[in-house]
C-alpha cells in the first residue's frame, strides 16, 4: 500500500515539474487535481480495490470450476448410459449421488476410533456400490468399480466447486478482506487438484491406469503368470519365488478401479504363516516435492499407504504383533499425475522399483525366508 502511495506521489511531482502538456497552466492544474484525486482514492479505498481484484480472480476460477464440475457430471451420466444401459434416465440419481456425504466418527474419546471409521467406510463403500448397481444394471464388476470411481471424481469436483463458491459468496456478502484473501491464497492449489480430478474422470470412465496405480503395477508384474487367489477384501495374492525366497505378492483385484483393503490382506497372510514373515515390502506412489522428478524411486521404512489411515493402522498393528520389519519403496509423482492417466515416466519407473524391491529382499532376508510384497494403489486398468 505504502509503495503505491509513494509511487503516486512521485508521479504527481514528476507530472508537475517535467511533463508540461500542451495547453498551458490550466491543463497542468487539471491533471494535478486528477493525480491528487487518484492519490486520495487509493489512500482510502486501496484495500477495497485490492479486495475487488481478488474477488474477480476468485470469480474467474469459479467459472472454470463450474465448467469442470458440469463436465464431470456430464461424463458420469454419459458413461452410465453407455455401459450401464439403464431403463430410466439416471440423471436424478446421479445428482443425488453427487450430494452424498459421510460423517466421520466422533473423536472426543479417540480409543477405538479406527474400527468405527473402518465400519463407516465399509458402509459407505457398500452403499456406493449398490447405488452404482441401481444406476447401471448392465455393468460387470470391473465396469462397476470404474463407474464408482468416475462418480467419486465427479463428487469431489462438485464438493470443491461448492466450497469455493461458499467462500466467494461469503466474502462478497461480508466484504471481509480476510475471507476473500484466504480463498484467493489457496486457489492455485485448489485449481491444480480440480484439474487433476478433471483429467481423472475420463481415465476412470475408460478404465485407463492412473499414476496412483504404480504400486499395483509393480505387484502385477511380480505376480504375473503365478497362481493367484482372492483374499479379503477385494485383494488378490500370488505366491512367487524371488531370489530364493517365497514372496506373497498382494494387490487389489484388477482391472476394475479398486484399492482393496491391503491392511486386512496383510493381516491374513501374516496369520496364515503364524507370524513367520521376515519382512513386508510395500510399494506405493509417493507425492513428490516440486523440483523432484516424476518417476524417481525412493526407499525407506514404514507402511507406505495413503487414504484415511485405517489400513496403515491395521498393517502397523499386524507387523508389531510379530515384530516384522516394514520396508517401503515409493515412486514419486505429484497429485495431478496420481489421479490422471499414468505417465510414461511412471510406467518406466516400475521396473526400477522391482529392482529396488529385489535388492531390499536380498539385503534384509535370508534364502528360504517368507516375505510379503504389497503393491498399494488403485488398480484401474491393471490386471494380474
Amino acid at each position: 500500500m505504502n509503495e503505491v502511495l509513494i509511487e503516486l506521489a512521485g508521479m504527481s511531482v514528476l507530472q508537475n515539474q517535467f511533463l508540461q502538456f500542451p495547453g498551458g497552466d490550466s491543463l497542468t492544474q487539471i491533471l494535478s487535481i486528477l493525480f491528487y484525486g487518484v492519490f486520495i482514492v487509493f489512500l482510502f479505498y486501496g484495500q477495497r480495490i485490492q479486495m475487488y481484484v481478488m474477488l474477480r480472480e476468485v470469480e474467474g476460477s469459479l467459472y472454470k470450476l463450474k465448467y469442470i464440475k458440469d463436465e464431470g457430471r456430464k461424463i458420469a451420466i454419459e458413461t452410465i448410459k453407455e455401459i450401464g444401459k439403464p431403463q430410466a434416465d439416471p440423471t436424478p440419481r446421479v445428482d443425488r449421488f453427487l450430494e452424498y456425504f459421510t460423517i466421520p466418527p466422533q473423536s472426543m474419546d479417540p480409543a477405538g476410533i479406527v474400527w468405527k471409521l473402518d465400519n463407516i467406510l465399509d458402509v459407505r463403500d457398500t452403499r456406493l456400490k449398490d447405488e452404482v448397481k441401481l444406476m447401471a444394471p448392465a455393468t460387470d464388476e470391473p465396469q462397476g468399480f470404474n463407474l464408482e470411481n468416475t462418480l467419486e471424481a465427479a463428487m469431489a469436483l462438485n464438493y470443491i466447486y461448492k466450497v469455493i463458491r461458499h467462500f466467494y459468496l461469503l466474502g462478497k456478502k461480508t466484504l471481509s478482506l480476510y475471507i476473500i484473501m484466504q480463498i484467493q491464497m489457496i486457489l492455485p492449489m485448489v485449481m491444480r487438484e480440480a484439474e487433476a480430478y478433471a483429467s481423472a474422470l475420463k481415465a476412470f470412465a475408460y478404465g485407463q491406469p492412473i499414476g496412483d496405480g504404480a504400486g499395483a503395477l509393480v505387484a502385477a508384474k511380480l505376480m504375473h503368470g503365478a497362481e493367484t487367489r482372492k483374499i479379503q477384501k477385494d485383494c488378490i495374492v500370488g505366491q512367487v519365488p524371488i531370489e530364493g525366497r517365497v514372496a506373497y505378492v498382494i494387490k487389489a483385484e484388477g482391472p476394475g478401479g479398486n484399492v482393496g483393503k491391503p491392511g486386512d490382506a496383510i493381516k491374513t497372510i501374516i496369520e496364515e504363516n503364524e507370524g513367520k514373515i521376515s519382512t513386508v515390502v510395500m510399494i506405493d506412489a509417493g507425492l513428490k516435492l516440486e523440483g523432484e522428478g516424476v518417476g524417481e524411486v525412493a526407499e525407506g521404512i514404514g507402511a507406505a499407504i495413503g487414504g484415511p489411515g485405517v489400513d496403515q493402522f491395521k498393517i502397523e498393528e499386524s507387523t508389531l504383533k510379530y515384530r516384522i520389519p516394514i520396508n517401503a519403496v515409493v515412486i514419486k509423482e505429484d497429485i495431478g499425475d496420481a489421479v490422471s492417466p499414468m505417465r510414461k515416466e511412471i510406467s518406466d519407473a516400475v521396473d526400477k522399483a522391482i529392482e529396488r524391491v529385489k535388492s531390499v529382499i536380498l539385503e534384509r532376508t535370508k534364502e528360504g525366508d517368507k516375505v510379503v510384497i504389497v503393491g498399494v494403489g488403485n488398480t484401474i486398468g491393471i490386471g494380474q
Binding site: Y63, I68, L201, P209, A220, P255, G293, M342, R343, I382
Partner: protein, 137 residues
Amino acid sequence: MSGNSQSATARVSTFVLMIIFITLALSLTALVLAVNAFSYGNEVVAGYLLLVGFVGVSMSTYVLLQSRRRMARLKIETPPIVTTIECRKCGFKNVREFSRGDYVFKELELCQKCNEKMIITAIYREVKEKEKGFSLR
C-alpha cells in the same frame, strides 16, 4: 445444468466481446480524428485524441487476448493414451492408441510372427515438459 453453465459462459463472453469491440471502434475513431485534427493544425486536441486512441486500442487488445486465453483454458485436455502390446515369446512389439477395454496383462490376438498370444504390457500417456529457463536441480 450443463447447458445452463455453457450458456452462462457464452453470455459473459458475448457481453465482454461487445464492450471490447465498441471500445476498439471508438479508439480507432479517436485515432482517425487525431490525424484529422493534426492536419487542421489543432495539435492539443490531436495529442489528446492520439493518447485516448492508443490507450483504448491497447486496453481492448489486451482484454481480448486475456478472454481468449481464458476460453482456451476452459477445456479439459485429454492427452493421447497409448497401449503397448508385446509377444512374450519373440519380443515383437506393437504400440497403438488406447481403446476401451484395454488393461495391462490383457491377452490379445495372436502374434504375426510366431502365432503366440500377445499381451498388453503398458498403457501410458506421454507428457512433453515445457522448456524451463533455468534449473536448480
